[in-house]
């Protein structure tokens, strides 16, 4: 993969993450913000794997795996919190 293609791919993903951040700031209700965070974490996992490929670092895959695991547990915790209506 050439340098240009990598930069274009990473730029598109960065714009996507920025759109999610916009929704997270604007979202009228708390679940809206949670959905934005959910979408953002999935995008960041894909971004980490791609970054690992661009930098040729195998460690990034471990980071992506642990990040997706923690994001899943955290989102389920947020959902439980919203469900109780505290």
């Amino acid at each position: 993969m050439s340098q240009t293609i990598a930069v274009v791919f990473l730029a598109i993903m960065a714009i996507g993450i920025f759109l999610c951040l916009l929704r997270m700031l604007r979202g009228p209700t708390a679940p809206d913000r949670a959905v934005a965070v959910d979408t953002m974490t999935t995008t960041v996992v894909a971004l980490l794997v791609l970054l690992g490929f661009v930098f040729k670092r195998y460690v990034y895959l471990d980071v992506a795996l642990v990040y997706s695991l923690l994001a899943f547990v955290g989102l389920v915790a947020i959902a439980r919190f919203l469900e109780r209506g505290i």
Binding site: F9, P31, T39, T42, V49
Partner: protein, 110 residues
């Protein structure tokens, strides 16, 4: 093989971007979950598998991450959707039918 991997990664990234765009654009929380779940699941899956194809030594671990995303993404979205229904987020104006009442009656009966 390299071109094939780049193509798969590119398609995945386009889907990821559309998912993020849908989260910003669609009118209410349930529609946003639709876009945010479907598009990002396939997008992340294709991106990670594409990287695995470009770097064959990473393929197994990449497949593991992709499968993990494929399994956990629907579950976390489902949890958020349930929470938003329980905390009383209403549907948008363009909705045509709402059968939640039937379901609640069914819950009372059992």
């Amino acid at each position: 093989m390299d071109v094939f991997g780049v193509a798969i990664t590119g398609v995945g990234i386009i889907f990821l971007f559309l998912g993020n765009f849908g989260v910003l654009r669609l009118p209410d929380v349930y529609n946003r979950i639709q876009a945010g779940t479907k598009c990002t699941t396939l997008g992340a899956f294709l991106t990670i598998v594409g990287v695995g194809i470009m770097e064959p030594a990473w393929l197994w671990k990449a497949l593991l991450i992709a499968l993990f995303v494929l399994v956990t993404n629907p579950i976390s979205s489902h949890a958020i959707a349930r929470a938003s229904r329980k905390s009383g987020v209403s549907l948008c104006d363009r909705s045509v039918v709402d059968k939640t009442k039937d379901f609640e009656e069914f819950r009372e009966k059992t």
